[in-house]
């Protein structure tokens, strides 16, 4: 890892080059803003910020209650199992709502924090909201960031505490003080979320790119038949055999009128099924998740991209029955592979943007490990569409190389509200390259706005993988 100053210098040089080639003022302003964040580093977000003395900031005075305060109990949690059981019923109710002409109300897969470890686990809550007309406390005059009560020493103006800016969506918009104590979190396995997505939302299945043998898995099944003995009597096959034998013996004079009581039964007529080892021919898949974690990705856009990636990840786990392997790559102007989903999910944003470096890294990994032969390869990339690489001069060639082996490349662009006219840099060069048109089977792009909701995310997944 280069030190911060050097990184900044590199970016500066880069920025100068870009300036020479011509930049619109807005774009320059954004690139500069992004560069400003370069020094901040990509450490994991401080998860425990809600425990300190600052936790009280933003905590509603109505969140205190006798049960929690006086008796020091904790909020009781629903168990994931009971929720999954009622989920079918809820979704059925939701379908009914739609038929009755009202919008759906159940949301599945609202994400909170996936913990470190617990591989293959995401946090999923079937939720709903009760909409009412009420005041929105988040719209305030400029400069006001909210206030709270305090006690103790300190002159007016004195700083009493600091907290690193949390630039990453941790769960459902939990601000300081709305930590784990209040958010109702439930753990459910990714498998269950995947099942829900596949079955309930009728996501189209991924195209099989030719089945490959799995070298690692066997399943055991009662598929082989055996005469005379075995685990389970196959009644139909046995009966057929008996009839066959009896016809051969001339024991059935009239086939239209069979009297089973007169059957002669030989022990070898009994057909059993026996347990046997089966080779598993399920296809394998390797999924690359790429996320832009540059400075411009702060806030909602990151949350959107990451949520969508979790949904895809869970669903793939289900679809490929655990045969999915995932690789996680983060990039700003440099790409970095991270070991687990937790790091992928929680790394903070900072720095500039260059999409090409992530694509290049995928190409390198695939070539180095010779993955193309054994795997269906999927690449999902999430960004806000900003790229310092004007016109995709570096990104497009890497992408073209990638398309020679990938089953599908899906690019998600979560646009900021104030997106430039004519789309973002990434969407512009993807469109300009013509790849979207010439290889619609292999590369897809989904553009959503910052305020997209969950149905929109699922809609987006459909678009990326259909």
């Amino acid at each position: 890892m280069k030190d911060v100053n050097q990184m900044r210098d590199d970016l500066n040089t880069y920025l100068e080059e870009l300036r020479e080639r011509g930049l619109t003022p807005e774009r320059e302003a954004r690139l500069v803003a992004e560069m400003e964040t370069a020094g901040a580093g990509h450490g994991l977000s401080p998860a425990a910020a809600s425990d300190g003395q600052l936790a009280g900031f933003g905590r509603s005075l109505y969140s205190f209650s006798d049960l929690l305060v006086l008796r020091q109990a904790v909020n009781p949690h629903y168990s994931a199992a009971s929720l999954m059981k009622s989920l079918d019923e809820l979704l059925e109710r939701d379908r009914q709502r739609e038929q009755d002409g009202f919008p759906r109300k159940i949301r599945v897969g609202k994400l909170a924090k996936p913990g470190r470890g617990g591989k293959g686990k995401v946090v999923v809550v079937p939720t709903t909201v009760e909409e009412k007309l009420f005041h929105d406390p988040t719209v305030r005059p400029p400069g006001e960031e909210g206030q709270a009560g305090g006690t103790g020493e300190g002159e007016e103006g004195e700083v009493i505490g600091e907290q690193p800016v949390r630039e990453e969506g941790e769960g459902s918009g939990a601000g300081p003080g709305q930590g784990e104590g209040e958010a109702h979190e439930l753990e459910s396995s990714a498998y269950e979320l995947g099942r829900t997505l596949t079955e309930k939302f009728q996501l189209p299945n991924l195209k099989d790119k030719g089945k490959k043998r799995s070298f690692t898995r066997y399943t055991y099944d009662l598929t082989d038949k055996h005469r005379g003995f075995g685990q389970i009597l196959d009644k139909k096959a046995t009966l057929r055999k008996i009839v066959e034998t009896n016809i051969a013996l001339g024991n059935i004079p009239d086939v239209a009128d069979i009297d089973p009581t007169r059957f002669l039964i030989a022990p070898s007529d009994k057909i059993y099924r026996v347990l046997s080892q089966e080779k598993d021919y399920e296809p394998q898949a390797m999924v690359f998740f790429l996320r832009d974690y540059s400075g411009s990705m702060a806030g909602k856009v990151t949350e959107l991209v990451v949520s969508q990636h979790v949904l895809i990840y869970s669903w793939l786990l289900y679809q490929y029955a655990g045969q999915v392997e995932s690789r996680f790559i983060l990039h700003d102007t440099e790409a970095r592979e991270v070991p687990d989903f937790y790091t992928y999910y929680n790394s903070r944003v900072a720095g500039g943007t260059e999409v090409a470096c992530a694509f290049r890294m995928v190409n390198e990994i695939v070539a180095r490990e010779n993955l193309a032969n054994d795997y269906n390869i999927y690449v999902f990339h999430g960004t806000d569409g900003d790229d310092w690489d004007t016109g995709g001069a570096k990104a497009i060639p890497e992408l073209e190389r990638m398309l020679t082996y990938a089953s599908r490349v899906g690019v998600t662009i979560a646009e900021h509200g104030q997106g430039e006219y004519g789309g973002t840099e990434v969407s512009r060069y993807l469109n300009g390259s013509g790849l979207l048109k010439s290889k619609p089977d292999l590369v897809r792009m989904d553009i959503m706005t910052e305020d997209a909701d969950e149905p929109r995310l699922i809609e987006g997944i459909k678009r990326l993988i259909s």
Partner: protein, 543 residues
Amino acid sequence: MELINQHTKKIMEGCKERARAAGLSFTDESLEYIVTNRDLLELSPKVMIPTLYDYWVHDVEVLREKGKYELYPHNPYETVINTRPPISFYNDNNPDWLNVMIFYHVLAHIDFFQNNLYFRHTWDYDFTGEALSDKRVIAKLRAEKGRWVDYAIEFARGIDNLVDYHGELADLFRSPEAECSARLNYYFDHFLQHDRKVSIAEYVKEINRYNECLRNDSDQGEKAFFTEAEHRYPELEAHFAREGEARPATRRDLLRFLLDNSEFLDRDENEWMKSVLEIVRKTSIFFQPQIRTKIMNEGWASYWHENLFLQDDRIRGHEVDFARVHAGVTAMPRVGTNPYALGMRLFSFIEEQADKGRISFAFQRLIDSDARKHYDTDVATGREFIFKVRENLCDYLFLKNNLDQDFVDLHKLFVVGKRLDQQRMVWQYYVKSRKAADYRQMIMDSLYHPPIISVDMTKGIDGSLYLVHTFEGKQLVREYIANTLMGIEYLWGGPVHLETSEAQVVAPGYTAAKREEGAPQGEIRWERVLYTMNQKVLSKKTL
């Protein structure tokens, strides 16, 4: 759920005797139940009322982060509920001394429920009993109408914060004799002040003239008064008639208005929905005072559990245990507002002030700080005074009247501000102000306050319903408008308009850190907009 055992009940009865001796007053009977976590899961969505009607949303994890307490104006984890008899909930493994403390806390809550005038409308019946019969009504309806009952509940709950709780309460206190005619109210409250804009002298003259007329002839006086008034203002009668149509008495209570005026609900096949609306409205009104007295109620309970516990001879030897738990409950946090701590300190402060005769004009006009410090007339009426406070105030008045600079200084209170340090990318929390006015305003801003949305009959065209949101510096949560209006449209049976204000952010600044707070940056310009929900399609235009 099972009742506490006899041993514990005996402790409770002992607590009651001591609390009564100290001046608290409450009904003789009370029920105490042991609840497990499993029970709590079922109870908390039903606001701890075991007999509340069933509704599927109660079984779902509801997203509550945003405006959680605006949406749910009651506490799902309260220990005691305001029923007859009052019911309270306990763990099964509390030691006796802890139970004593909680019992005193609970008894003070019960005293508060049964004596604070904001709870007046809950005094004459047992809510659990009514809730049970309502639950049966809804179960029966559900058997007949199926899922449509749930839609009716959903749409009614969508507007259950728009009930005129204060109006409901006011009716209980107004004596019938003091009631003025609608014409008289209109004449003095609206016509003279807003339409004619008369001077104060003229206004007073009219009042005197009215009193004069009444003295001359108590029966016909008002008639005589208006004969002359109409002579002077010929348009009065027409204005009054129009006003009556435009501003129906129930205009600030949308649920009641729909019940009274919706043609859709009047149809034979929809008549049943009215019972659902009534039930939802009643439930909402029942819980209204609880959230409006949070600081007082918890402060009162903490004040008494502290006082009574320390005097209780049965728990000698547990003072240290008590101190630990009590401090946990009532310590003032370095950052944040704890209603237990604030309310308790404020009650103690008021008591001390009253003891020293400082709640008086003589003290208030003192400016000399040293004289203020040593002012003490030794009247010792503090106890009596806080009982009056407990009876007559709600959180708003409690803070507004009593939270002064002396209190702020005494407890070293300050307003915490939050700002961004761009250089180091950290949020800084700093002491923003130590002024009582700022502190008071900060807390009062965080109190529960639903939007005021009233019906304007003059603007609804062709059977549509026109709602006006009175702007108070905050916009409504936009993403909830569509579904709420859809529900209103369904219950009204025609198009619904909502006039409200929305923020237009003029020049959005671009910095990564600012955006992540979710608050739009730059100048805010407010503009009046009109939402229209017609055939489940929402449209918006700028007025």
